[in-house]
Amino acid sequence: MTQDRFTGVGVGLRRPHLEQVAQLQDHGVPFWETCPENVVGDGGRQHRLACAILDRDPVLTHGLTISVGGFDAWDEEYLRDLGEFLVRTGTPWHSEHLCFTSVDANCLHELLPLPFTREAVRHTIARARELQSRLPVPLLLENITYYAELGAPEMDEADFITAVLEGADVGWLLDVNNVYVNALNFGFDPKEWLSGMPLDRVAQLHIAGHKKFGDLTVDTHGAEVIDPVIDLMQWTLARLGRPVPVLLERDNHIPDLDVLLAERARIQHAYDAALVMTGVRHG
């Protein structure tokens, strides 16, 4: 599923950086990732800048609120606009989270975990297949961090994710930071966990920072990526043996662009090193 032009380490395109990024022709970022919810239906200067960048540079799209595992009806108008947006950007795929975000038509703007039950697997597979049939590009689902199991589980997270990805026959946006955070919170070995997963479905990786609040580690996207997460990214790339694109996420405490680009360069260095070690050519 990975397309050749999408390799290396990209960056999430965020409003505070739009002015600068629009001016920079030679920024060194191989691709940007954008959230359609933040662009579709917007207007004004920031919107124009975002569109100019998305028209100029390679883009991957990543949704936030479609609520793949939920029960609410699809927002038909948004799905139509999303489809047009995906075509316009030329993204090779579109990713959503393996979670639910709305209940009784209330959008909670939070990635909420699905119960690890057979019923939830069946329901989510049906929803993901239906969503896929409505999109003009392949759908990827991303594993989330979770802090509680909603209800009594019938399987573990790994089996749940595998069953949904295979049942829906969709690709996997593997967030290695989310695996790392879940491993800290639930006490498992992230590499052992990944070893049992369907890595052949991985089309893209996410990497980000997190923060500890008391006993709980939270996926904040608000800090620099720590070395153990970079190590997990390298380990994953080696296991994949393919140069899938990695996206650096930063949504909170967003630093100046030069700081973020320096962090991207650091992760790109680690990315390149991992591929050299495994003899994979890219770029």
Partner: protein, 248 residues
Amino acid sequence: MASLVLDADEAALEADPGRVARRHGLSGADQQSFREQAPAMLTYRELARMSLIEPLETMFPVLKALLEEVGAWAPCVQAFLDARLLRSGHYRDIAPTFLGWLAASSWGQDRWPFLLELAHAEILEVLVARFPDSDPPEGLHAEPGPADLVVLDGATQIVSYSHAVHRVTEAAPIPEARPTHLVAFRNEEGEAQLLELTPATAALLVQARTRPLAEAAASLNLPDLDAILNLLRDLRRDGAIAGFQTPT
């Protein structure tokens, strides 16, 4: 889950999350699971509520300062969450939805008659700055004439408040009771601009959208048509007016 996040009753969740699960019809095993994970359930509640409340705190700092002084901000936000109006998947829609709820519910407006105006003024420039882009109607011309209609840019808003709510600050959040007329528009760069208008100019801009300029000016007792045309040229140059249209 919506109740877990949106409802006010945190005490019940802290005391016994299993009971909360039972109240919502979940099975015994699920109730037990909720009970065992009480701290994590509270974390979810806090994270989700933070996501919903943060944009209100960011977009309405003066309103928050005004209400917090008397302990009314949290009840106001809770009343909004209770209304279950957060339907949009666009994060940017949370603040306008809150504004719509204030208008529909009249919350707090007995005590603070300027509350809705204040909230509107706080997000007016953002609403204008982010108004969806659209092409202007065809056949507009740049030079206004006495027989023309005014066509505002799609993002432009002309507002009239009974209080000077655009002058308030977090330190001094109570506005002066003074009729205030504003035009908010996007300049050529797409940035929001705010201009205070005289009552007559505001009325002219409203009336001249549906009746010829000279006729609108006469009805408002504005004798100096040249001065009006100059002002309209300036507003077109600045971006508030898309152009002028001669009725057929």
